[in-house]
Symmetry: C2
């Protein structure tokens, strides 16, 4: 991009740093911005420069927020007896799409991953325990919704054991559940990997 | 994204407006930025807000520049007898890759496209004529490098005719050429469309 003005090159280089964007796409995006209204560019520049300073973690569930408590934890119309534990903030999105879930969340911000030196103390497990200890009698169910990979499974198992101890010590009666696994909707048996199919067989339902 | 902070949502919405970026990718990119160093975000915000005001068209070739004359037209080591006419600024990039071209450019910023009401007067054809008229005796070749589609072809034909008139009126002796068309390098005959293959047959070379 040495034949182009430096602000344009900088913008293209910025795009190129983003995951999944190659050099040609980056150039095209930078040129596309040139055709955007000046006001829109100004606005997005403001948001970018404030992005990190304005964004913090919710004191309760660790979802991202610009206040102390996130909009979900502030929502009193939700089911206070239900907490879903997810690995990352982006995992909340599918739950919030299409009115399928009305409870609260707890964001771990990671998963137990010994190979990368991430232990239980590096993610928000203790704060989940503290949160449940405090409100335990009002909680009916904790849904473990970590990913269906090895680290996600290990993380769920670790939390399940900690919750079991907590229930016994404090005489809580909430259920602990894990998301159901199987063929995705629209999924094709022919292309299913055997792990998915095994889960799908284990989780088969009466159908008559 | 209503469950997320507003600056994050705004950044995600910005990405979603860009061509080829869907909602999920936009969300993922916005979260990726959260992990970038604050300083980098600040820097890109500055570039974005100055992008349009700083970027203007070169007085000579209409390439983009932050000064009056672009870096290519300022480069006196290039071959002053050679001008390549391209539709858009991005078309310069492949010419500038890998030392294959040492002449100057003329950027039309569009192509003749009657269906979309773009005529010869809407793109930088007159300024090309003025430029060649002024330096005509020093020019040896004008390469027409518009795209190989219908509008690109029509634009090249229009410019070719105008250049012919100019040569006759002013007794200039430069050549006018058009880029060669054929199978792309690495291209597969089996998958070539018949127009490309026809050009490829017309442009066949002695090979013995």
């Amino acid at each position: 991009m040495k034949s182009f003005p430096s602000s344009l090159s900088h913008v293209a280089q910025f795009f190129e740093r983003l995951p999944g964007i190659g050099q040609k796409t980056a150039n095209r995006l930078a040129f596309y911005l040139l055709r955007m209204p000046e006001r829109d560019l100004q606005e997005i520049a403001d948001h970018l420069s404030n992005l990190k300073s304005r964004t913090k973690k919710c004191h309760i569930c660790h979802n991202l927020t610009e206040e102390d408590i996130c909009s979900i934890c502030q929502d009193t119309k939700r089911d206070i007896s239900l907490i879903t534990v997810v690995e990352d903030v982006l995992d909340i999105l599918p739950f919030e799409t299409g009115d399928i879930y009305q409870g609260y969340y707890h964001v771990l911000h990671g998963k137990i991953d010994p190979l990368n030196h991430i232990g239980p103390e590096d993610i928000y497990i203790e704060s989940l325990m503290a949160r449940i200890k405090k409100n335990g009698s009002g909680i009916e169910e904790v849904i473990l919704a970590t990913n269906a990979d090895m680290e996600g499974e290990a993380t769920s198992m670790f939390i399940r054991n900690r919750l079991k101890e907590l229930k016994e010590t404090h005489q809580f009666s909430f259920k602990v559940t894990r998301l159901g696994y199987g063929l995705p909707i629209g999924g094709n048996v022919e292309y299913a990997d055997y792990m998915t199919l095994r889960k799908s067989i284990e989780n088969r339902n009466a159908y008559e």
